[in-house]
């Protein structure tokens, strides 16, 4: 199943906005989109969660893979604008200790 991902560019940073749900049905499609950007050399990526209402471990897995690959290239993956329900599962999983999470996209860009 496909996923809609909006893309915006702010100077050298690529901002990705997945829309609606990121779950086992479309995680593979999302992984393809993100990793295509990583392979193309994007080193600063923000995933803005403001359009996302649901994520499961299948979607979180893609972000972990991307964060590892980007860090290996000395780049940075940051996440922003999470709904509190989503923020909570990033805390339970300990992802908030290894991937930078900001309250807003502006804060992520300024970091």
């Amino acid at each position: 199943m496909d996923i809609e991902v909006l893309e915006e560019r702010v100077e050298t940073t690529l901002v990705l906005l997945p829309v609606s749900r990121l779950d086992s049905a479309n995680a593979r499609a999302f992984e393809g989109i993100v990793m295509d950007h990583v392979r193309a050399g994007e080193l600063n990526i923000i995933v803005d969660f403001s359009r996302l209402i649901f994520i499961s471990s299948s979607g979180m897995r893609v972000l972990l893979i991307a964060a590892k690959q980007i860090q290996a290239k000395q780049g940075k993956l940051a996440l922003s604008d999470m709904h509190p329900n989503i923020r909570e599962i990033f805390a339970i999983s300990g992802f908030d200790q290894i991937i930078s999470i900001y309250d807003s996209r502006a804060e992520a860009l300024a970091a």
Partner: protein, 141 residues
């Protein structure tokens, strides 16, 4: 108001998207709130995905999954039954949630999320089905 929500589906990932709508309607009927709706949807997604990917169905043909959601005494009861060989998710080991990014293992988080968010959880294998019951206490938002 619906007394309980019962859904049967084939053990296929493509069936997962049929669940959020009825779960949301059930939650609205009981005024469960957005947080509980999210938690129930996450539990269903993780448990069913786990069953579809890791379940051992032998020669069952098309295995089925049976969902039963009800509210009793300020508690949400979510029962998920599935065909297949016994698998007790409550015995699953605790995943690594502390190591650094470059050494953090990928995967194994789904059941951990489900168990972390439930107030009580119990497993039984009855009539050739895995039966997992999750309980969530209703806390006013």
């Amino acid at each position: 108001m619906c007394e309980r929500l019962k859904i049967e589906l084939n053990a296929k990932l493509s069936e997962l998207r049929t669940l959020p709508g009825p779960v949301e309607q059930f939650g609205e009927a009981y005024n469960l709130g957005l947080k509980m709706n999210f938690v129930i949807n996450l539990a269903l997604e993780e448990l069913i995905t786990n069953t579809v990917i890791h379940g051992q169905f032998d020669n069952l043909g098309q295995p089925r999954i049976y969902i039963d959601l009800r509210v009793e005494n300020q508690t949400v009861f979510l029962v998920v039954e599935s065909d297949g060989r016994p698998f007790d998710p409550t015995q699953d080991t605790h995943p690594d949630t502390t190591s650094e990014l470059d050494s953090r293992p990928i995967g194994g988080l789904g059941l951990h999320l489900v168990k972390s968010q439930a107030d009580r959880i119990s497993y039984a294998y009855i009539n050739d089905r895995n039966r997992l019951q999750l309980e969530y206490d209703i806390v006013p938002e």
